[in-house]
């Protein structure tokens, strides 16, 4: 697999992460469902999942960059699996609304597991570890993906600050603490 194909696949991965972060925001804004601490942590780990592809796009694909994605995906899968187990008992309605039959944390688990499998498949066919990786300018497709994911993470910084304020985040948040504090 040459560098051009690898960069395109990494950019596609970033667009997938953008989709996940936008879906989470849509639920937060349209349904007025504020994310719980574990939900926020899953969003953080989706953002950290994007760092491997960003490095691959800028410096060229390296096994170490894929390792970063694998580490973030494994931690994300553990966090989302714990939240699934918290709500697994019969009669438990789960946290938040379901989307296509699954809650956000179940989709998050599926997303992290899919990321692990996809990174492993890309590594199987990515034989550029012997090449000298160097920084090169990205094309508009990859550049757009990187800027989108960075922008969404910046919006998450503001949103989380509004939700939690300067204290600990509520276990079951129902309002934006910082806005309440400012009134």
């Amino acid at each position: 697999m040459n560098r051009s194909i690898s960069v395109t696949l990494n950019a596609l991965g970033l667009y997938g992460i953008v989709l996940v972060l936008v879906a989470a925001f849509a639920a937060q804004i349209l349904l007025n469902e504020l994310p719980c601490p574990l939900c926020l942590l899953q969003r953080v780990l989706f953002s950290m999942l994007a760092i491997g592809p960003i490095l691959n796009i800028r410096f060229g694909p390296r096994p170490s960059h894929y390792a970063l994605s694998l580490l973030a995906a494994v931690v994300g899968a553990i966090v989302s699996a714990r939240q699934i187990l918290l709500h697994i008992m019969p009669g438990d309605p789960g946290y938040g609304s379901a989307l296509l039959g699954y809650h956000y944390y179940t989709w998050a688990f599926i997303g992290f597991a899919a990321a692990i499998v996809l990174v492993a498949i890309v590594l199987l066919f990515d034989d550029r570890s012997r090449d000298v990786a160097e920084a090169r300018p990205a094309g508009p497709f990859a550049d757009g993906a990187v800027r989108l994911v960075i922008g969404l993470t910046a919006i998450n910084v503001i949103s989380t600050l509004l939700e939690c304020g300067f204290g600990a985040c509520a276990d079951n948040p129902t309002l934006y603490e910082l806005l309440r504090w400012l009134r």
Partner: protein, 52 residues
């Protein structure tokens, strides 16, 4: 507050990955990941009602 800090650290790592040095990005990623795990362990205190 800790989640705002985590998002901010992820944002900084992304910015360094895209515009800064490679080694610094790897170092900051490690710190952010360890902090994420620490915050997860801090919050994972509720007993799971499971029986195996």
């Amino acid at each position: 507050m800790e989640f705002t800090a985590l998002f901010l650290s992820a944002l900084v790592v992304m910015a360094v990955s895209w515009w800064g040095s490679h080694r610094l990005a790897l170092a900051l990623f490690s710190i952010a990941l360890v902090a994420s795990v620490a915050i997860f362990l801090h919050h994972a205190t509720d007993t799971l009602n499971l029986s195996f």
